[in-house]
């Protein structure tokens, strides 16, 4: 075990996979110079000994032009013909550039061609929200990809999940999108040094509780656990569940967690309408209706674009205080209105 950051864990998973399998290649803008900190040596620097370029060479580390649509399509084509590409798309807001390739080629090809090809490819991108970069760089677009059958989606919320899920993603024979949360980049914890694989579709329980269930996604997880800890001090116990992968989704895990408490708060930093929180809510309203004691509450970013000013942006995502307050209101506790 070593202490790793979330970002370091992503780098470590990539390095492991590149080492384990010659067919794994890394494709993306500015990957040679390690601009985004996951293709370097130990640190966030090209200077460090043994960065990806030095270790794996220019044949496998492909620094690209700014051509997202063709990068994504090329990765798909390469994956259909023997490579196992990892594509670094840097910001999640740039995925739209390649939407046609994602939806019409990456997601559909295997199906349309009757299973003649498989497509082992991973598309990584980081959600730079909460950092005052303005509307163009702050998106958390995973919900729209969840509506596209044929893609798998991971959304790790801790360093060890980041490493284990990403390794499973790279080893999957299907296309996987990895949505990484910049607010977690610096998060540190003990991570296993050797290879391990966290299966896609299996969530994790972060807190056990009996009063309310909080299903939290990506950067929402850390806020939900903080809220749960604050509530615990008040004698309220919350079950905190992180599905970790959005497709496939651990529906059983969610249902069990809700059945335990009969109350559900969903914490999701993406936009509200047709978001991941809506899906979780709908699943629960279908499968755990009889155990529900109260209306389901979604805590999400509002249906608003993201403003630049710190004075404006900070209110846009669900935070620990708001989560705790929502739970208190739901339980009808004194001071809930405060």
């Amino acid at each position: 075990m070593s202490i790793m950051t979330y970002l370091g864990a992503i780098g470590a998973a990539q390095r492991e996979a590149l080492t384990a399998d010659e067919r794994v290649v890394l494709i993306g803008e500015d990957v040679e110079a390690n601009v985004y900190g996951t293709t370097g040596g130990t640190g966030k620097s090209r200077a460090a000994e043994g960065d990806f370029l030095q270790t794996f060479g220019r044949n496998r580390i492909r620094n690209t032009p700014i051509s997202e649509e063709s990068i994504v399509g090329a990765a798909a084509g390469a994956a259909m013909t023997g490579l196992r590409p990892i594509v670094d798309l840097s910001y999640s807001s740039f995925l739209y550039m390649a939407m046609d390739q994602f939806v019409n080629q990456v997601a559909k090809n295997r199906y349309m061609f009757g299973g003649q090809a498989s497509m082992p490819v991973v598309f990584r991108s980081a959600m730079f929200y909460g950092l005052n970069t303005g509307a163009h760089h702050s998106d958390r677009p995973y919900p729209m990809f969840m509506n596209v059958p044929g893609l798998k989606i991971i959304a790790p919320a801790s360093p060890s999940d980041a490493k284990g899920l990403l390794r499973s993603a790279i080893d999957s024979d299907d296309p996987v999108l990895s949505f990484e949360a910049c607010p977690l980049w610096g998060m540190k914890e003990e991570v296993q040094d050797d290879e391990y694989f966290i299966p896609l579709g299996v969530g994790r329980t972060l807190r056990e509780g009996s009063d309310v269930t909080i299903v939290a996604i990506s950067g929402g997880v850390i806020e939900a656990t903080a809220a749960a800890d604050a509530l615990a001090a008040e004698g309220v116990t919350a079950e905190v569940f992180d599905p970790r992968t959005l497709v496939p989704l651990d529906v059983d895990g969610i249902i069990k967690a809700v059945e335990k408490t009969g109350r559900l708060v969903i914490v999701d930093p993406a936009h509200r309408t047709c978001g991941a929180a809506a899906e979780v809510s709908a699943l629960v309203a279908e499968h755990a209706f009889s155990s529900l004691k109260a209306p389901i509450v979604r805590l999400t970013a509002p249906d608003m674009q993201i403003p630049f000013s710190p004075a404006l942006e900070k209110q846009m995502y669900p935070k620990r205080d708001g989560i705790a307050a929502a739970v208190r209101t739901m339980l009808g506790l004194a001071g809930a209105a405060a």
């Binding site: 032009p65 063709s70 390469a78 013909t81 349309m112 061609f113």
Partner: protein, 330 residues
């Protein structure tokens, strides 16, 4: 140039052109009779352009194509039965009935799939070229697209990337002068072939795209170049579709000039090749008639195969999305 080509190769060219012609004519009739659902775009009139290009590829080479889709896999040598069965939506279709006319693919022959999305197949070809280069397996990739697709940005991104990385990709523009109802000259600024230069790659125009040998030679040169590691080429082949954009489409006024159409109909690639084969002594009229009949029989057999095959079980719709059944979902 013909001396370097074997009789066998020349006759194979004619055979494949005939296959496309008769396959598409039959498919068109089947569509009219309601046996084929959906849309269907024939390559009738463009056989030389398709076959000349495909014959310049080896069996291991890759290919991607577009909505005008049947010709490409046929040109690459794909057996007709599973293709025809696919158009009908049968279980024995090359894609198990899930693809249909716009989405043929025969991976066993390097046909990586036709795309209903104009321009969508080009980056896929780029990726196959990257694969070939990284793995060092010497395969060349050919991407077919139309004059209409040449206005999609993906082409230029892909030409650039293939140019920078010297990938073994041949970008082949089938310029049949129209994108659906839209004349190419009304939506194309400059000439497509001239766009290669700005991306640092050779651009070649085959003016006589109705001549299978002219196409073959141009593509062969580009394939050789690609295989030598010298990178991509853009080829623009001038041709014409003899039928409507898609079968059954009825537009009130023909957007194509009657004279223009008539002139092009005189330039039938199959007739041109037939005359040349006879004139140059590669085959007799009788031999070519026999070839004709062989191919007609092949198409008939393909029809019978399609017709007698069962429809897929409804459950097939729920297979093949992923390689494994998705996780813990309900």
């Amino acid at each position: 140039m013909s001396n370097e080509l074997e009789t066998k190769t020349l006759l194979e060219m004619q055979r494949r052109m005939l296959r496309i012609r008769y396959f598409d004519e039959r498919a068109s009739k089947m569509l009219k009779r309601g046996l084929i659902p959906g849309a269907l775009h024939t390559s009738i009139g463009q056989e030389a352009q398709v076959v000349g290009a495909c014959m310049a590829l080896g069996d291991a080479d890759y290919m991607t194509g577009n909505h005008r889709s049947h010709g490409h896999p046929i040109g690459k040598g794909s057996p007709l039965g599973p293709l025809m069965a696919e158009l009908v939506g049968k279980a024995t279709g090359i894609c198990k009935g899930k693809g249909g006319s716009l989405h043929l693919a025969d991976f066993s022959l390097g046909s990586l799939g036709e795309s209903g999305i104009v321009g969508g197949n080009i980056p896929i070809a780029l990726g196959a070229g990257l694969s070939s280069k990284v793995l060092g397996n010497d395969r060349v990739v050919l991407s077919f697209f139309g004059d209409g697709a040449a206005n999609q940005g993906s082409l230029y991104e892909s030409m650039n990337m293939a140019g920078v990385w010297k990938l073994p990709v041949v970008f082949l523009c089938e310029n049949n002068h129209y994108a659906l109802s839209t004349p190419a000259h009304t939506v194309t600024s400059g000439r497509i072939v001239d766009r290669a230069a700005g991306f640092g790659i050779p651009g070649v125009r085959v003016e006589n795209g109705q001549n299978v040998l002219a196409v073959y030679e141009a593509v062969r040169d580009a394939v050789d170049r690609a295989r030598r590691g010298e990178g991509p080429t853009l080829i623009e082949v001038m041709t014409y579709r003899f039928r409507e954009h898609s079968e059954g489409l009825k537009l009130g006024v023909d957007y194509r000039d009657a004279d223009e159409k008539e002139q092009w109909l005189q330039r039938d690639p199959i007739a041109i090749m037939r005359e040349w084969l006879i004139a140059e002594g590669w085959a007799t009229a009788d031999e070519l008639d026999a070839l004709d009949n062989e191919v007609l029989d092949e198409v008939e057999a393909a029809y019978q195969f399609a017709d007698s095959s069962p429809y897929p079980d409804a459950s097939v719709a729920f297979e093949d999305l992923y390689t494994e059944v998705a996780g813990a979902g309900r």
